[in-house]
Subunit: 548 residues, 2 copies
Amino acid sequence: MVTDARFSTRMRARARKLEAASGVARGQFVPPGDVVRLLEAVIAPGDRVCIEGDNQKQADFLAQCLARVNPDRVNGLRMTQSSVILPEHLDVFERGIAATLDFAYAGPQGERLFRMVDEKRLTIGAIHTYVELYARSYTDLCPDVCLLAAAQADRAGNVYTGFSTEETPALIEATAFKDGVSVVQVNEVVDKLPRVDIPSDWVDFIVESPRPFYIEPLFTKDPARISDVQVLMGMMAMKAIYARYLPRTINHGVGFNTAAIELLLPTYGQELGLKGRACRFWALNPHPTMIPAIEEGFAEIVYPVGGEVGMEAYVNNKPDIFPVGPGGTMRSNRFFSQMSGHFADIFVGATLQIDTQANSSTVTSGRLVGYGGAPNFGCESRGRRHASPAWLAAGAEGYAGAAMPRGRKLVVQIVETFRGRMLPTFVERLDAWDFQEKGFFETPPVMIYGDDITHIVTEEGVANLLLCRTPQEREQAVRGVAGFTPVGLARDKAMVDRLRERKAVQWACDLDIKESRATRDMLAARSIKDLVDWSGGLYDPPSRFRNW
Amino acid sequence: MVTDARFSTRMRARARKLEAASGVARGQFVPPGDVVRLLEAVIAPGDRVCIEGDNQKQADFLAQCLARVNPDRVNGLRMTQSSVILPEHLDVFERGIAATLDFAYAGPQGERLFRMVDEKRLTIGAIHTYVELYARSYTDLCPDVCLLAAAQADRAGNVYTGFSTEETPALIEATAFKDGVSVVQVNEVVDKLPRVDIPSDWVDFIVESPRPFYIEPLFTKDPARISDVQVLMGMMAMKAIYARYLPRTINHGVGFNTAAIELLLPTYGQELGLKGRACRFWALNPHPTMIPAIEEGFAEIVYPVGGEVGMEAYVNNKPDIFPVGPGGTMRSNRFFSQMSGHFADIFVGATLQIDTQANSSTVTSGRLVGYGGAPNFGCESRGRRHASPAWLAAGAEGYAGAAMPRGRKLVVQIVETFRGRMLPTFVERLDAWDFQEKGFFETPPVMIYGDDITHIVTEEGVANLLLCRTPQEREQAVRGVAGFTPVGLARDKAMVDRLRERKAVQWACDLDIKESRATRDMLAARSIKDLVDWSGGLYDPPSRFRNW
C-alpha cells in the first residue's frame, strides 16, 4: 500500500538498509563470515541498537561482530540492552561504535562500566528495571536494529527460541512492528522445529552461529556453599514472615540466602505447616535448589523468566509445574514472568547496601551493576486489586489507622550485616549519593526505595517496618537488626527494646529459634549431587558444578 | 517424551479432552454447527475458562456457543475474562454453567452484574486491572480452556489476529504452555495470511465464525458532543499541568474530557509551545480525535492496546506513528501497551466518584463496571528508574523535604463536579464502602487510591495534591475544586485561600484563562466529518457516526 511520506521515514530507512544488505545476504540466511558486512549495511550512525543480553542467554556471536564493524561507518549508536555481560558489550564503546547505553543489569562488567562512565567514554541513558526497558522499546526507545539469539531456525525462517526464550519475543515484536531490522543468531538450522516461537515474516536475517550462544548458569547455587548463618536467616524469614502471612504467590532472588529458603521448605517449612498454605505459585527461574520443594509438593506452579542450564529434562518432565508446550519443551518469558512476580504476594531478595530508612542499592563505590528485575519485583504493586490473605494481612499492618483500608505487598530484604571484606551492608549514607553528585544520575540510583520494603532479615533478626509508625521508629528498627556495623552500634537501645515488645524487631531469641538447630543439616539437599538424586537423575548440572 | 505422572495431570486431562473432541472435530478445523459439542468435549466441570472479551474485540460466536452447552455436563466454571460485555457473558451464570467470575471491566453489563452478585447467582473472584489478570494467567489462574477471536487463519492453522490483536497473544501463550485447550474463532479461512501472529502449533481448534467477530468502536468520540465546559477543563489541564511539567510520554483515558485535550493540542497546545516538548510518545488506541494532533506533528509515536473501527487505513498509512509491521498492517498489544502507559510520565483519566482524600472509584451504587486499565495506568510506577523532566519535576514537588529525592508519575483525574442526573462526583464517602460492607469485597473496591493521584481538574479549577503536605490540606484542595457539590460547599474558605496562594488550588481565574475563549471554537475538529477531512479521507468512521 502507499504510505504517507511524512509519516513513513522509518519504512524508507529500512528499505534503504535492506537494499544495502542485498549485496551481502541472499535472502534471509547470512553466512557467519558476512555478518560484519551485514551489520555495516543495516546499522546507520546514531541508530538505536538493541542487543539481546539477557542475564543468561547472550547473542554473543552478534556482539562480537558488532564490535568489529568499521567505526568510520557505524558510530554514535545508542545501545538498549537489558544486560551488559560480555566484554564486547563495552568494547563497542571503546571503539567509538556506540556512545550511549540504556540497560538494566551489568553484573560481571560492573567495574569496567563504572570506569568508562567515570572517564566519560560512555554516557548512561538510564538504569532500568527489565520491564521498564521493554515498555520503552515500544514508545520512546524503539529499536532501529535488533540483534537476537535463539536455539534453531527452519529453512523457511521460522525461529524456535526454546527453553530459554527469555526476552526474545518482546524485543522482536518491538522491532518488527516499527520498521526496525532484526538479525537472529541461531545454534542450528534444521528441517523441522519442535515448535515455532517467532514466525518467519517477523525476522529479517538469520545466521547459523559458529558455536551455540553463550548461556550462564546464573541461577544454580551449590548447596554445599550455603552457610549455617544463611540457614539461620532462612529459618527466621520463614517463621517471622512466611508462617505469619502465608504468601500464596512468591518471587525470590537468586542468591544463597534464598537458595537456603528453597532447601528449607521440605524440612522447616514442613514443620511450620506451610505446605499447600504458602508459596504455592512462583515467578522464578527453574532453580535446581527448588527441586526438593517441587518433589515434596510445596510448589504447584513455577513460571520462569528464563531457563537454567542442566534443568531442561527435569523441567520438561513436569508440565504441571513449568510452562511446557508444543514440542514438549518449556518456553520461558521474561516480560510476562516479571509481571507475574510484580503482582505476587511477596518478594524476597538481597542487596549490597541499606541505609537507615531502608533504601537499598546495588550501585556501590566503583561498580555499576544495575538493578535487573528487583525494582519491579520489589516495589509495591499499586495497580493490584485482587486480595489474598497475605496481601490483606500486610495491608492491615501497614495501613493500620489509615482512612482507606487496603492490601499491600510483602517486600523482604535478606542480607548479612556485613558483606565481604568487612564492608558493612548497613550504611548511614548510600554510595548512590556519590553517583548523583558526580552527575551520573539526576537522583541517587536507588534499587528499592525504603517505603516499599516491609521486612529486613539479617543474622541478628527480623525488622518489620509495617509496624513502624514514624521515620524515627523505622530508623531504629533498621539499626536494631544491623548488628555490629556502625549503623547497628549507633542504635537507641531503649527504642529498640520498645520495638521488640511490639514485634517490630524480633531477634532470633524472640523467635524461639534455637541457633543450635540452624545448621546445614536442616537443608533438604547439601550438595549438587543431592539435587541430582532428588531429581531422579533428570537434573544434569554443568560440569563446573560436578565434583563426583 | 515420558513425563512424571505425578506432575503431568494437566497433560493427561488435555489428552482426554482431545480424545473426546476427536468425535467432533476432524483435525484443527471445526464446523460452526459443531462448536457446542466441541465445548462440551473439551470443558470439564469446574474448569477455568478464559473467554476473549477485550473491551473492543469479542469472541462473540464462542460466547454464544458456551451459553448453549448442557449445564448437566459443563458447570461450575470459573470464568477469567478481561471484560464482561455481551449478554452471553452473564447468561452462562444464569444457566449454571459458570459460578465464579474474575474480570477487569464490565461496562455495558455493569448493572446486570451487580444484580446477579447481589442475588448470589454469581461469585466475584476479584476485579483486576488488565495486566494483573494476564499476569495471574501464568501462575494461579492458568486457563484450562481459552476461547479467542482473530481475523483470519490459513489452512495450516496459523492465525492472523490483525489490527485488533489486543490480548490474544497473552492469552494463547498462557493456555498453550499450560496444557490448556484453545479454540479460536476467525472471520475467515484464507490461503495466505498477511502475516502470522500465532503459529499453528499453539492452536488446538479453529472455527470459521458465521459472521465477523463483534467489535465496538469504543474509542471514537464525536467532537460534536464535546461541550464548552470540557474545552475549559482541557485548557486548564494543559496550562496548569502539561505546560508546567512537559510530560514526554503519556496515556489518556477514553472520555470526552480527554478527547477535548487531544483536539486542543493543535490550537491551544500550539499556543502554549507544547509541540516537540510534551506529549511526544503515547500509549493509546488510535483515537480518531488524535488525527489533527498527529497531522500537526504533536505525536511522534502512538502504541495502542487495541485497534479502532474505521482507523485501519489511516493507521496503516502512518508507520512512523503506529506499530505497522509485516503485511503492512498494525498489530496492537494490550499487555505491552499497558506497560508502556504504566511507565509513562502522565496519566489523565476520569472517574465516577472521588472522596475527600482523592480516592476514586467507578464502582457505584447499583453497578459493577470494574476498572479496566485505570489502576495500572493511574498508579505511581514505583519500579520506574529512568528520569525525565516531568518525572523529576513532579517528584521534586511531591517529595519536597524527603530524605531521598526521587521522581514520580503525574496522575490526573479530570471530571465535572456533577455527573449526570444531578449526582455529585465528589462525595464524603465512596459507594465502594457499601460493597465491602455487603461482603462482596475484602476492602472497598477503589479504582485509584488518593495517594497515587497528583492533580484533580474540574470546571472549577485544578487541585495540585503534590503541593499539599497534610491530609487536611489534601482534603481542602479536593473541596476547593468540588464546586457546588455538598463536598465543595463544606470547604474551609480560609484554608482554600491559603492553598490558592501556594497554587495548590488554582481556579480558572488564577490560571488567566478567559472563559470566553473556552468554547468549541478552540477545537481543531468539531465533527466527525472534520476528522475525516483532517485524515485526507483515510479515516472511515462507522455509519452510526456519519450524518452527512
